[in-house]
Symmetry: C2
Subunit: 470 residues, 2 copies
């Protein structure tokens, strides 16, 4: 290489990394030897409303979240299709098809776990590919580890609710049949339920909720799925203490609640968003009578959270296990699941606490990325959600008539002394709907240099696999 | 300057501009002579739902808008306070206080036009500062040019609805008094109504709607505000033809409708979002009976649009007037106002057409920025809005009960053959509320190198004034 072309390369590197040329040259030497890692953090349903609601509460209207300080911020176009070959677009996703997009690069239909729409073919996931290439892999979630988001990274099945072997023939809720996974039974050549696939996967660390999905007897075996995990070399943990003390030399399956982990925060005395109450006179005419809005409430610690491991504690343990004596590197997916689940339940304080949990886990990821600079840290959401930050006082308050949401509303006293109103009004059902806007994307310096400001959700797969050289 | 320090400067420039050093050196010579321009495009209420709804309709679910192709994308934290000195944060803004933030760098209260919360002091705007420094300035809007967004760039007053001299003593709607601007009468040492301030401002080009605000007699004069504009050297235009033929050597005031310009698109036969209709049995119990959703509809051209100049036509004329024989440069604000206004009225097709108008105006701005490379092009929204993209088929459709929005919904047939559902449910009033999430930000290459991925809304003022060296 001539002197001139070396200078050009240095210039290129300096610019690409936004570093002075000399520093870039030093880094080039370091990074050749350092492990390549991907830490993907998914805030389930974490759209800009959820982020702003959490920021207002946790940091104040003019405050800054850890997310806001990320050097790269962009947007992701969410893609969903009907469940048939050549299906048309659907404009609102669920966590199954979106996680499948991220984990496999393939667009599919709602409810599917890394299988193709209509044709029901399994698609290789980043966990499989990374493991085959010698990387360690791990999944962390505040949901059941068998829930759609983690499931899509290490299993393939036609229906997200087939989480354990007991429900493969029929998933139902209140006697209403919702679907089945008969074609994916092992007896029929499939991989079995999500729990079975996880414990037979190459995953090194699995941490989250979902004990109940590991208790049933594995298909064709006389042992539970949990016992199968132990047979396959997993140490198991069910408490924060056991999580701390886990043996670095074994694979680790930590399950800390029967199903979803309890959320960290809740509304005062457990309150949710509530319907405004209108007077009798108002029922006679829209312009008459009065409306009584739900009382202003504080957020408070959720007493059910107790000694549940935090998302940060699980992330720290996962990173420690995945990186210990590992010169190759790892892929880790971390999900803060109940930003979404609390929003379905119209519990804004619940969502706020889970954004806070994500922020802490992100801090752990960023701290680690300073130790191992070839670590790509990405934060994104899978889809947008129902909560809307609306005016505490209507824009039309000068009009002397009752103005209020037709849905449910929570009015939250923020630590900085204002009142924040959060509205839920996508439907009349027990659970709110998802919504369909593009979602936010954040990355550390490593990501800034390789991720365009606007991407389609399946492109995340390619961005991550390229970083790992897969 | 030594050879070495020259190399350092080149390196710095190369990195700052993300260009090879040699190209940067060439550009340094060019840009010293080329005019410095700012084109700020505001999509009023253009949040990620509005963008995604428009993308789905105009380009398809997997399509790409001009916005999506911008090299820089970030987010803006919207700040609003109560109307008193030291007021607490409010979490939802209006277009008056947000435009004031962008135009002046100061956080203020809802309804205010570039005046301080509580203390009612006027704050210098970027139009004043740029004009004083020898730049030409212009405002283009599909609203009345006296509406909050354009107004905040070239006037200072306590209440956004004081758009003309006839309403300074009392603004009312259906006999309900909404406010006044007595302290800002010229007789009281103020600048008068917004229309009067505009025609007495240093603005070179003013294009949009709002003829009715220029017809009243100017305060203390026997002539209309429009006549005052002509006295002050403005040529006037009221049709697309006159816009095309306007004299480049005069200032230009173009007013193309009595108030807001008609929108380009509307729902089939003028339809808006509508309430689902429930059967009598459903009124007995939530789980019983049936719901009938509004029929699916197409979007269609709005017959009222007629020969209204497009936002692109106005933007092209403004750029031509501002840049002709101008070696110094210009500041131009372009607003697509009715993304917001149509959303207040629950008219998703209206909003879609106005995002399309913004896209076309953006294309003009980008084309011009290639001719004059020192042109900073920024696109942003002022606040988020009520429309939500919701599932056409509920996530819970397997449950045999009627599920529907408690608000109003439009089901739109998209050109790619799917149905997109848009929900409006912030209130029960004739007009929807704004919402409070952070808003998107886009910039061209010039902006990418100087705008962090997350900023507070008032920082936009500093970013633009620094580019102009103010």
């Amino acid at each position: 290489m001539t002197r001139m072309s070396r200078l050009s390369v240095l210039l290129y590197l300096a610019c690409a990394l936004s570093l002075p040329a000399v520093v870039a040259a030093q880094d080039a030497d370091n990074t050749r030897e350092s492990p390549r890692n991907v830490i993907l953090i998914i805030g389930d349903g974490m759209d800009d409303h959820q982020i702003t609601i959490a920021r207002n509460y946790l940091k104040g209207a003019a405050g800054t979240l850890q997310l806001d300080a990320m050097p790269m911020r962009g947007a992701v176009q969410v893609l969903t299709i009907e469940d048939k070959v050549g299906g048309k677009p659907l404009y609102v996703a669920d966590s199954a098809n979106t996680a499948s997009s991220i984990a496999t690069g393939v667009v599919t239909s709602r409810g599917r776990i890394s299988t193709t729409a209509g044709s029901d073919e399994p698609v290789p996931t980043i966990v499989e590919l990374a493991s085959a290439a010698g990387y360690r892999t791990g999944l962390v979630s505040t949901a059941s580890v068998t829930d759609a988001t983690p499931a899509a990274f290490a299993s393939q099945i036609n229906f997200r609710l087939c989480e354990n072997p007991a429900v493969m023939h029929e998933v139902s809720y209140s006697d209403i049949p919702l679907g089945n996974c008969i074609d994916h039974l092992k007896a029929n050549g499939g991989g079995g339920s999500i729990a079975e696939q996880l414990v037979e996967s190459p995953l090194h660390v699995i941490l989250g909720g979902g004990q109940k999905h590991f208790a049933p007897q594995a298909e064709g075996k006389s042992r539970s799925v949990l016992a199968l995990a132990q047979d396959n070399g997993f140490a198991t943990a069910t408490s924060a203490d056991q999580l701390q003390q886990a043996d670095f030399n074994k694979k680790l399956l930590g399950l800390f609640a029967p199903s979803t982990l309890p959320v960290r925060m809740r509304g005062q005395n457990g309150r949710e968003a509530e319907s405004p109450e209108v007077s009798l006179l108002h029922q006679v005419h829209d312009y008459l009578g009065e409306v009584t809005l739900p009382e202003v409430m504080r957020c408070e610690p959720n007493p059910e959270f107790g000694n549940t491991p935090t998302l940060k504690a699980m992330t720290d343990t996962a990173i420690a296990h995945l990186s210990a004596n590992n010169s190759r590197g790892f892929f880790l997916m971390v999900e803060s699941a109940s930003i979404d689940k609390a929003s379905h339940q119209r519990r804004p304080c619940g969502s706020i606490g889970e954004v806070q949990q994500l922020e802490e886990a992100l801090q752990s990821a960023l701290d680690f990325s300073r130790e191992q600079p070839n670590t790509l840290v990405i934060v994104t959401a899978d889809h947008t959600q129902a909560a809307q930050l609306v005016p505490q006082e209507s824009l039309y308050a000068d009009f002397p008539i009752p103005i209020y949401t037709p849905g449910k509303i929570a009015r939250i006293q923020t630590p900085e002394g204002s009142v924040m109103a959060v509205n839920y009004a996508t439907n009349n059902f027990a659970m709110e709907e998802h919504t369909g806007a593009n979602v936010p994307l954040f990355a550390n310096e490593v990501g800034r240099d390789i991720i365009p400001p606007f991407i389609q959700q399946p492109q995340l797969f390619g961005i991550m696999t390229r970083h790992l050289g897969l």
